[in-house]
């Protein structure tokens, strides 16, 4: 059996500028933040990012790494508007493919099923059609004759997701209330990298409730053990969102934030800087 464990640096070494990158999680929830931070330490840029956007999008946008964003929103959840996404949009820093949440989900399903599109009852009548002139419609061949939007497959070169547990083979488990769409991201990508809070040893899933084993090894290229690797987004039940730190992220000028927390050589230096900040403000 293939041992797929990697460091964040080894994952990022397999990514390249100009690629289409899917990022799992949702808003400020279980985002693969350690992998995004590793990406920020690399020279990889000019990305097309596909995401139910949160601070993953904000960080990459602030660092100027996004050429095109495909998303229905970007939010920090407890802070409705993602400030760096917002600033980048208002500065015209990247192209945006803005589609509805359900269109996005069906785009993932289409890609995972190797279909060119799926019909969706969403988008018609809205300005999603105006701002995406490439979107086409499809008409039912049956009696109803209804017209739908043909949402194109959201196929990606690589996907990054974060789960609670994984084994060395790439099987991964979520333990919180919501799987989000991480299995679809992995299935929709040519290569997929899973970071996890904790690696379990072979056989470690023997007692798992099977439905929690969300991501299968056949759809995973690399596995990274990254404790606190979704920080500052939530990763329940391992931990909730770090609200004070998220607030700091949202209110600190980007250069200052990046210099203090993102300039170190590795993930460990980030986690130490966060810990030092928490001790300072305690």
């Amino acid at each position: 059996m293939t041992d797929k464990t990697m460091t964040p640096e080894e994952v990022v070494a397999r990514l390249h500028s100009g690629m289409t990158l899917g990022i799992g999680g949702w808003g400020s929830r279980r985002k693969p933040m350690a992998l995004v931070r590793a990406l920020l330490r690399s020279p990889v840029t000019d990305l097309t990012v596909i995401s139910y956007g949160g601070p993953d999008v904000g960080l990459l946008a602030a660092a100027g790494r996004i050429r095109e964003l495909v998303a229905p929103f970007a939010t920090l959840d407890s802070i409705p508007l993602e400030p760096h996404f917002r600033a980048a949009r208002e500065a015209g820093a990247f192209a945006l493919t803005e589609i509805d949440e359900a269109m996005f989900m069906w785009g993932l399903h289409a890609a995972a099923n190797r279909l060119p599109f799926l019909p969706v009852r969403a988008g018609l009548g809205s300005d999603v059609m105006r701002v995406n002139p490439g979107l086409r419609t499809v008409t039912s061949p049956y009696e109803d004759g209804e017209t739908f939007v043909a949402v194109p497959a959201l196929r990606m070169d690589a996907a990054l997701v974060h789960l609670n547990r994984a084994d060395r083979l790439g099987n991964a488990q979520y333990l919180g209330p919501d799987p989000y769409f991480d299995d679809l991201f992995c299935a929709a990508a040519d290569s997929a990298y899973v970071s996890c809070e904790r690696l379990v040893e072979p056989g470690g899933f023997a007692d798992a409730v099977p439905q929690t084993l969300l991501v299968g090894r056949h759809s995973v290229t690399g596995v990274v053990e990254a404790p606190n690797g979704a920080h500052f987004t939530s990763c329940v039940p391992d931990y909730g969102r770090d609200e004070p730190f998220q607030k700091l992220y949202a209110t600190t000028p980007w250069d200052e934030f990046a210099a203090r927390f993102l300039a170190g050589p590795d993930e460990k230096s980030y986690q130490s800087a966060v810990q030092a900040w928490h001790e300072e403000v305690r």
């Binding site: 998303a71 929103f73 949009r89 509805d100 359900a102 969706v120 988008g123 017209t147 209330p177 799987p179």
Partner: protein, 245 residues
């Protein structure tokens, strides 16, 4: 109960007006976005709409006492939307006379003056299940002749698109209840919250509203409803932080 307790605040009228949105909906998911709609949905569930489904705001369906009764992660939530067994009350940064709604950005979409949330689920919501709106500050900046980006689809565009399941039951603001019960589905003043005048609503609306001959007032809460709002659902009075007066 003292007479003092029966002085109903504006926020409490707003909760009642939001609750009424779900009257008669039966066994569907009530999806309130924001504090006042959330109080309204929970009030409806505890009184006249006991079959409504509610979530904890995350992925769990909960009973009136907060105990789990089901699982609703985002992917299944989207099936509730497209299956139609849901009535959402969304916010609106802009809203026009036919109910077209914008939460995406202000200004030219290609170079927005102010980036907001993005379209989120407004397109899929409006084409699949009833969508009501909550506007905590009724003003001409929200009620505009034309929205900058159509996220939620209004009646004129829904008709043009042949949408089968489109319905906008009501818009609740801090001043009034509005609906689209006119022959061409233009927005109409349905009721005023007590203490508000027709003139006030007209001045705060950036287009001409249809007006019935007699505009009723939003109904009073019952003593039981007031008790539930004040003692059970919102004992800290957070509602008064969203709507004053």
């Amino acid at each position: 109960m003292t007479s003092q307790a029966l002085v109903v605040s504006r926020a409490e009228y707003c909760v009642i007006a939001c609750a009424e949105a779900w009257r008669g909906d039966g066994e569907v998911l009530a999806s309130p976005m924001g504090l006042i709609p959330s109080l309204g949905a929970r009030l409806a569930r505890r009184t006249f709409a006991p079959d409504l489904l509610l979530t904890d705001g995350e992925a769990t369906l909960v009973g009136a006492d907060g105990a789990a009764e089901g699982w609703l992660p985002y992917r299944r939530h989207l099936t509730m939307v497209t299956g139609g067994r849901r009535h959402v009350m969304m916010g609106a940064s802009q809203l026009d006379r036919f109910g077209n709604q914008n939460i995406s950005c202000i200004g030219d979409w290609a170079a927005p003056a102010r980036q907001l949330l993005g379209v989120r689920g407004a397109p899929v919501n409006t084409l699949n299940n009833p969508v009501s709106y909550w506007v905590p500050r009724h003003s001409p900046r929200v009620f505009v002749p034309e929205v900058d980006m159509v996220c939620g689809v209004g009646y004129d565009r829904a008709a043009a698109a042949g949408a089968r399941y489109h319905r906008l039951p009501r818009v609740v603001s801090d001043l009034a209840v509005l609906d689209f019960a006119t022959p061409d589905h233009r927005m109409r003043l349905a009721s005023l919250h007590p203490g508000v005048t027709v003139e006030q609503v007209r001045a705060a609306t950036g287009f001409e509203l249809a007006l019935p001959d007699d505009v009723p007032y939003t109904r009073d809460p019952t003593p039981e409803e007031l008790h539930l709002i004040r003692e059970v659902l919102d004992p800290e009075g957070r509602r008064d932080g969203e709507v004053r007066g």
